[in-house]
């Protein structure tokens, strides 16, 4: 059966209806669609149907099949997951989902500033809201995720300084480091300066910080949730030798914490998932990049920046691309890295999220997370056989070191209780994540369950 002779028009393919098809073929003056493929040699043709599962053309059948598969997923009850390590359970306000579910935003793509004015304004506002949160003047339209954002931030530092060395002063999320390494390795060498008690080891850093250093890379909160308290000193030392300070971070903490720019960061980058995006099995990440309004930095950014512009009419805001000529859209391989489809919708989500939270919401949220993190640390460290991994100030994540029982076995034994206590980092350390979605009751349940295991094992 030739596909074009199917007995029905597929709902997604209007002109597969026989009447329309015949009229269009006649209008073009051909008898068969085969004529359009004259340039595809016979030897390259697939002379058989694709070997795919049968079509589910009835929407009902399709929905039932896919829902049936998805029903086999088992997310944890709210608050009973203490999993983080890159993807976080934060509350997503309903208004965020409502806005990014709007067909006009969801299905738009590359419209111009006129017919897509709304997209340009929403993304300009995203940039502007992030700019206030981060105390920096320039934020780009989102890139893919924090992995790409950190990769680009460091690559920019290499291009600006013409140097090769990146000093890694923090414990960085290992997957992020993997991506950064593969991205920058032709022109940058990542050199670890292991942190001390989870924050930058300043004397060790000073010992290797010289004029070969392109950037010092600080991650705060770090992979284990430690907040860097010596950023100002790191930045001062880095700037003294002409190095650039790159900070990868999570914007959700800056309602309460001093933003990195105020301590001297030159490029700030990170992930947007915390700002209004669901966990989505790790499938909803966007990256942000922020710099000061300095053309040396701005002109190295690969992503688009939507800027404000005047129109013919007083009081009307127009928008457009800032410094478009730096992009690969304008000049192909002569552009900075490349720009393409990335994560604009997640940027709109983050903007809506920040507009909803406002200054007070971000401050209260930051306090709640700090307080519950501290509460969880205290509840757990009171258990015999548990101690905190370090003494740093932690935001959202921290490690505990277990004696007498492995983190993997704690995870396994809490599974029947419907609690995921964290991510094992090695044979001793468990990485625990506490967000505002984990209440004190949830934390108490976690502590009681961990205590029960350790007690049982010591009996």
């Amino acid at each position: 059966m030739s596909p074009m002779s199917a007995p029905y028009a597929h709902p997604y393919v209007p002109n597969s209806a026989p009447e329309a098809r015949a009229a269009m073929l006649a209008a073009v003056g051909v008898t068969s669609v085969d004529e359009f493929y004259a340039d595809v040699p016979d030897a390259l043709r697939l002379h058989r149907p694709l070997d795919l599962p049968p079509a589910l053309v009835a929407e009902q059948d399709l929905a039932r099949h896919v829902t049936g598969l998805l029903d086999r997923n088992r997310p944890l009850a709210p608050g009973r997951s203490f999993l983080g390590a890159g993807t976080y359970h934060h509350h997503v306000p309903a208004v965020v989902d409502e806005v990014i579910g709007r067909s006009e935003f969801l299905t738009a793509y590359a419209g111009e500033p006129y017919e897509d004015h709304g997209r340009f304004q929403a993304l300009f506002e995203y940039e502007s809201l992030m700019a206030e949160l981060l105390a920096m003047d320039v934020v780009t339209v989102p890139t893919y995720d924090s992995f790409q954002a950190a990769s680009t931030a460091l690559a920019m530092a290499g291009r600006i300084t013409g140097r090769r060395t990146v000093l890694v002063a923090s414990e960085v999320l290992p997957d992020r480091r993997s991506r950064v390494h593969d991205f920058v390795r032709p022109y940058l060498d990542l050199v670890d300066v292991p942190p001390r008690d989870a924050i930058a080891d300043l004397p060790a850093l000073l010992a290797v910080l010289d004029e070969s250093v392109a950037a010092v890379w600080v991650e705060t909160p770090s992979h284990t949730g430690a907040i860097e308290t010596r950023l100002a000193e790191v930045a001062e030392a880095a700037h003294a030798v002409g190095a650039i300070v790159v900070v990868s971070t999570d914007p959700i903490c800056y309602g309460v914490l001093t933003p990195p720019a105020s301590h001297g960061a030159d490029i700030v980058c990170g992930d947007l998932q915390s700002l209004g995006l669901h966990a989505y099995y790790g499938g909803a990440h966007g990256g942000f990049l922020a710099v000061h309004d300095d053309p040396r930095f701005v002109m190295e950014l690969p992503s688009r920046i939507f800027g404000l512009a005047a129109t013919d009419v007083p009081g009307e805001y127009g928008f457009g691309d800032v410094a478009y000529e730096r992009t690969s859209f304008a000049v192909r391989e002569e552009g900075k890295e490349w720009v393409g489809t990335a994560a604009a919708l997640w940027g709109i989500a983050a903007g809506v999220y920040l507009a909803l939270q406002g200054p007070q919401g971000m401050a209260e949220l930051g306090e709640t997370i700090l307080a519950r993190t501290r509460y969880a640390q205290q509840r757990l460290q009171g258990i015999p056989g548990v101690r905190l991994g370090d003494d740093a100030v932690h935001f959202r994540e921290f490690t505990i070191e277990l004696s007498g029982v492995s983190p993997a076995s704690v995870v396994e034994r809490l599974r029947p209780l419907g609690i995921a206590p964290g991510v094992p980092l090695d044979d001793q350390r468990l990485l625990i994540c506490v967000t505002e979605t984990n209440t004190s009751d949830d934390i108490d349940a976690l502590a009681a369950a961990v205590a029960a295991i350790l007690e049982e094992d010591h009996r």
């Binding site: 059966m1 393919v13 597969s16 359009f36 340039d39 595809v40 390259l44 694709l50 795919l52 599962p53 079509a55 929407e59 896919v66 829902t67 598969l69 998805l70 997923n73 088992r74 944890l76 208004v95 006009e104 738009a108 793509y109 111009e112 004015h117 709304g118 997209r119 502007s128 700019a131 206030e132 934020v139 893919y144 995720d145 992995f147 997957d175 993997s178 991506r179 991205f183 301590h263 669901h278 099995y281 909803a284 800027g307 404000l308 005047a310 129109t311 009307e316 805001y317 127009g318 691309d321 552009g335 490349w338 489809t341 990335a342 994560a343 997640w346 507009a355 406002g358 200054p359 599974r415």
Partner: protein, 529 residues
């Protein structure tokens, strides 16, 4: 007037929404709240005290961020107004964005992708808790392997360019494994391949050689032969190219690349017209990528997230990004994360999960016959629209004169421009007045005064007619009322915008904060809220 209502005019009397909405900061009213976060409980405070005051010196934010303060409904209304001022593909006969395959994203797929069991599933949960989504990822990998003819597929990347990056990163790792990295320093692409092929290769450290078309519009094979050498690491090409012209000698190109030891990477962003017709591996390609947001019906999200798929032949499988979802003999799904030759993690976790679900559902809704109907209809639509457009005086389709095209065409208004001085950009702005999006082409403009139309399979004959009618009308205006075109837009949210400030570092306003600093205006509360 009374009934009956007169017949509608031939062209739609469109007007875009114009809410004249302020920037969100101008709506701020002190003390208003959009949401209230979960508060610190008394038991917690009793144990930990005031954690904010207890922060080390300098760590506590001195002044709250200057975010706006708005009630919840005001935030909602603001963003809904902005959404109305945006012409999404659902509202538009979106054939004007060639190369981007603006097809229908079925609503049922959005609903499936928002399944509650997916929203709160954490990527590090026990694999037993994630068997449903893992099966969908695995099945999508297998279906795309069949569609491309490749041996294995990875679904990690978030967009087409990210997938192209993964391709060149795998090629680089492959040659490092063979000790040929020092030798192979060049990548060859064509000017009508997407710019990201050139740009990602450059970002990976390669010199880029770009082949231009021959007189007939096919990539110049003689120039290609001269460019090939033992220094060549790869060719990275699109086919059909962004002109809609299929390179009939593509298998020969791949053989030539292989003959100097190079790999062949296939940008399949333009696959919509060849689904089930011809496959990347059958032309000898070693690696390819698809854009799930183009060919496989996931929405474009105002510029992402999309989703990329990387297909590889057996010899490149070890280099795929980590992890790959595999199916064990007992039917359970797990992650193969122990892949020593892998280029590593290219993105967090397992890819853009909602879009993988959508693409899976899209392929399942169509099946093999449906995919072929998609391809054939997209190509029929394109050739139909081409016949209509070429009837417009001043429009032409350079290259391959008299030949058919696959799924899109890069046209030219050069003749109209010579006659009227109206540029392709100006025509695009005016077309927006009729509710149509229109795009020129990537740079450089090898085709003068270019525009690129790709009708996909999604639009009916009458909608294609409407689009062609709008172009014909604007071309007519260019001759008869050029000032109307030059002063466009007239029916849009905003009027002609002055872009000069955007290129001057002293004057550009990259954020509201920068705007206020540079211009000292934007006093909150001075605008209508």
């Amino acid at each position: 007037m009374s009934l009956p209502v007169a017949r509608k005019p031939a062209l739609r009397r469109f007007h875009q929404a114009r809410w004249d909405e302020p920037v969100v900061f101008e709506l701020s009213a002190p003390g208003e709240r959009g949401v209230i976060p979960s508060q610190v409980e008394p038991a917690v405070r009793a144990l930990v005290g005031d954690v904010v005051s207890g922060l080390p010196d300098g760590l506590r934010r001195a002044a709250p961020p200057a975010l706006p303060e708005l009630g919840q409904m005001r935030v909602l209304r603001h963003y809904l107004r902005l959404s109305q001022e945006n012409l999404g593909a659902d509202l538009n006969v979106d054939v004007g964005q060639g190369t981007c395959t603006m097809k229908y994203s079925p609503k049922v797929n959005d609903r499936l992708a928002a399944h509650p069991s997916l929203l709160d599933l954490h990527p590090l949960q026990d694999l037993a808790d994630a068997q449903g989504i893992l099966e969908i990822i695995w099945r999508t990998q297998r279906m795309l392997a069949e569609i491309s003819g490749m041996d294995e597929v990875g679904l990690h990347t978030q967009g087409g360019s990210a997938a192209i990056w993964a391709n060149i990163a795998m090629i680089r790792a492959y040659f490092e494994g063979r000790g040929e990295a020092e030798q192979r320093t060049e990548v060859i692409t064509t000017i009508f391949s997407h710019p990201s092929n050139a740009a990602t290769a450059k970002a990976a450290g390669y010199e880029v050689i770009t082949i231009y078309p021959d007189a007939d519009g096919y990539p110049d094979i003689e120039a290609f032969k001269r460019a090939l050498s033992p220094r060549t690491a790869a060719i990275m090409v699109t086919n059909p190219e962004d002109t809609g012209i299929y390179n009939p000698r593509i298998a020969e190109w791949v053989e030539l690349a292989h003959s100097v030891g190079a790999l062949a990477s296939y940008d399949q962003a333009n696959a919509n017209g060849i689904l089930g017709i011809t496959r990347a591996r059958d032309a000898g390609f070693d690696v390819c990528h698809f854009n799930l947001h183009k060919t496989f019906g996931t929405p474009h999200g105002s510029g992402g997230p999309g989703a990329g798929a990387n297909g590889v032949a057996a010899h490149l499988v070890p280099f795929l990004p980590r992890p790959i979802v595999v199916r064990d003999d007992d039917g359970t799904f797990r992650l193969d994360d122990v892949r020593p030759l892998s280029i590593g993690k290219v993105a967090p976790f397992y890819g853009v999960v909602p879009n993988i679900v959508r693409a899976y559902a899209w392929i399942r809704a169509l099946g093999a016959d449906g995919l072929r109907a998609v391809a054939e209809t997209a190509v029929l639509n394109n050739n139909y629209l081409m016949a209509r457009v070429l009837q417009i005086p001043g429009a032409s389709a350079p290259y391959a004169t008299g030949r058919r095209r696959i799924e899109q065409v890069r046209y030219s208004w050069q003749d109209l421009y010579s006659e009227t001085g109206i540029s392709s950009e100006e025509i695009g702005v005016r077309a927006s007045d009729y509710g149509m999006h229109y795009w020129t082409s990537h740079h450089p403009y090898v085709v003068p005064q270019p525009f690129t139309l790709e009708p996909t399979e999604s639009y009916s004959k009458s909608e294609l007619d409407e689009y062609a009618d709008v172009l014909a009308q604007v071309a007519r205006e260019a001759r008869e009322a050029p000032d109307v075109v030059r002063t466009a837009p007239h029916n849009q949210t905003v009027h002609h915008t002055h872009h000069d400030d955007l290129d001057d570092p002293e004057r550009w306003a990259t954020s509201w904060r920068a705007y206020q600093r540079k211009y000292g205006c934007g006093d909150p509360g001075s605008s209508p809220g």
